[in-house]
Symmetry: C2
Subunit: 420 residues, 2 copies
């Protein structure tokens, strides 16, 4: 359960000297963000101090149900999914209990299919929206509510609403649902360690205490003043310097399938936090070793517009021996193969002058996953200071949301045939 | 089943004049690729003329089995997965028959979990590798074979090998497996309409004939000389011009979850085909409307380094009415919501001067999916000519593959602790 941090630096990447040359800029970034915590503007770091006892109650409450349904978009759901899959692994619904479904889109086929797979009477429903007014969340929830009203007596006991206000809060108060609050100073994409993540995750067998203990270990490291001792500050600085050298793409490449959804969580965090005012670095998730057969050619030999972060897991929870019959290549564990592939890719990228960084997890469990998620929250917060943007708002999407509501009012779904 | 093509052009994007100004360059690209077909160098377009009768036999053969296992990497498996999920939809294994698993990594936990979920005796196994020497494919297959040898009599009847040579071909010939050939002049990422895709897909209830008929409709369109009548040539030209204007990222954004795996297939096609010699455009898959809550902020207000392609589906196979209780926003179908969101996002990106293109499918079915995949194969082939790269090889990854084999021989898995 040790997290190791190493980096490959070089003339084409970031050198130790480049970092030292930044002088006060790094310390100012760190202090700038710490000030926002101190004055209460930003609250996600305080989530680690909350009493976790309540989650035992939720877990117990869950025992009456066979299914979990989580309704939410973006930061209301991506972190939960990342931790669920990161710990419970692949194909969970094909063998695990309780089964869980994530309604995170306005795709009608998805909603219809999920409704065919669950028994709503036996389903505990988490409906999550910070604003309480998220279009897709309200739409999906209203569909579910319509069915519950017709079919299930006292259905309000099936619903847990997690919100800070808006229409969802009104609905919850009127309907008598269990209601949890999201603190005003915790924005959606930094909310995984609040009830948003912890309430449903405690029903999915996740050890919440270890998750938070991992985040706390990382919190200590991320308070260190020396950038070389502070992984989040170090990674923020490297990414900032690389962005200034025209690396406008940040690739995250975990060599463990369980970390793919973590990558999707990171994608939102990095894109929505830094992408504004003409600034921003586009996040891209690659899965090792799989995507070596898909994207590696481009990374190695395409434009030098990327910085790559490897995440490797030294010890897997299960392993199996292979035999592939040629020469002395017999009898390796699959874990040895995937890890050799990570190393070979790292060496090849370095040879091709593609800057890369590596995070090593001895094992992937609640503690290390808690460390990893929290590290990225801190890295993103520090990066906001370095890039000079507000990493806690998302003004441009608000504009698009208003337009959608207007088009819906007008009945304009864009289905008009366009000639040609 | 009409495919509509429209584009949003403008000063910040590509104007009709920009395209006209290219003069012979476009026609030369088209002719350059057509020449490669004529002289037999490139074979994927000929796949459409193959007799499809054999697939009825394979389908019948499948009736003896309860599970399908497909082992392969990159182009050997991504197209099959794209069409399977594109037609059979989400959560297929939780209600569909036969269940299907894709072994497409060297992740030990994934392989172990799949082995726990299937009964190998009742499993039809497709092992797919053009070269016949793909490390992960051989590794996974050897694990399966070891188990079969111990547990299943006459297990060779469970295996269909699809390859062009190498160690896999030797194994197949020695073991007496059913053996299909991949033509030498069809490279992996263009092989979905060969046995690579069609053999397993015919066992998964896909209407192969309609799939191919869609590809044929598109083939005719893609032979048109006038770029404004030829969707693949038009899209290739737009992407090329945008790349020259420093748009180094190509976002594909389907508004239908069933098309997500199509996006993953496209990712390999675009990245591996064009990413070489310092050239290339990085593909990124976003899922609408979901990723509006994740990446849209960056697309709208971040650096102007992207061209976005929307794919929308006008009519979904299932739909459901919602009610979300405020003002006159009551009672929309979810399909209306997702399609309004597509339109709003398109309008917002255009307002923010982000160039975007739109592909409209009236419905998503075998015919339109066949059209879509074939269109992208042709677009990529034309783009190779425009970008001036060989879009059918992947020299850089060959280097990394050799290095992995060497590290494995040396027993170097990179697990040594690196001091911080």
């Amino acid at each position: 359960m040790i997290m190791q941090w190493t980096d490959v630096l070089g003339a084409e990447g970031v050198s130790t000297k480049d970092i030292e040359n930044m002088g006060n800029e790094i310390e100012n970034a760190r202090m700038g963000f710490m000030e926002k915590i101190k004055n209460g503007e930003i609250g996600f770091t305080n989530l680690l101090n909350v009493d976790l006892g309540n989650y035992d109650e939720i877990k117990k409450y869950m025992e009456e149900f066979d299914y979990i349904l989580i309704i939410g978009m973006g930061g209301s759901i991506l972190g939960t999914e990342a931790i669920h899959e990161g710990i419970n692994g692949l194909y969970y619904n094909e063998h695990g209990f309780p089964k869980v479904y994530f309604l995170d889109n306005s795709d009608p086929e998805k909603t219809c299919r999920v409704l065919n797979l669950i028994d709503l009477e036996k389903t505990l429903i988490f409906v999550v929206s910070k604003s309480g007014n998220t279009l897709e969340t309200l739409a999906n929830f209203s569909i579910i509510k319509n069915i519950l009203e017709k079919k299930v007596k006292n259905y309000e006991k099936n619903i847990i609403a997690i919100t800070n206000g808006g229409y969802l809060k009104k609905l919850a108060e009127k309907g008598g649902y269990i209601l949890f609050n999201i603190p005003e100073n915790v924005s959606g994409r930094y909310s995984v360690f609040s009830d948003v993540g912890l309430a449903p995750l405690s029903c999915l067998g996740i050890n919440i205490k270890e998750l938070i203990s991992g985040a706390k270990i990382m919190d200590k490291l991320c308070k260190k003043e020396d950038v070389f001792e502070n992984p989040a500050l170090m990674s923020a600085t490297i990414h900032y310097l690389m962005y200034k050298k025209r690396k406008n793409i940040s690739v995250i490449m975990p060599y463990a399938e369980r970390l793919y959804k973590f990558g999707m969580w990171y994608r939102q965090l990095w894109a929505e936090s830094l992408g504004k005012d003409g600034i921003g670095q586009t996040p891209l998730v690659s899965l090792g070793a799989k995507d070596q057969h898909s994207l590696l050619q481009l990374y190695m030999d395409g434009p030098k517009d990327k910085i790559v972060t490897f995440i490797r897991v030294n010890t897997f929870s299960e392993d199996i021996k292979t035999e592939y019959g040629e020469g002395n290549l017999n009898m390796h564990n699959l874990s040895e193969i995937i890890n050799s592939e990570q190393l070979a890719t790292e060496m090849s990228l370095t040879n091709h002058k593609v800057p890369n960084v590596k995070i090593i997890l001895e094992e992937l469990n609640e503690t290390t996953l808690g460390m990893l998620l929290y590290m990225y929250e801190m890295q993103t917060a520090f990066s906001g200071e370095l890039f000079g943007v507000n990493s806690f708002d998302q003004p441009a999407v608000e504009e698009e949301k208003k337009l959608t509501w207007r088009l819906l009012e007008e009945g304009n779904y864009g289905n008009k045939r366009i000639s040609k």
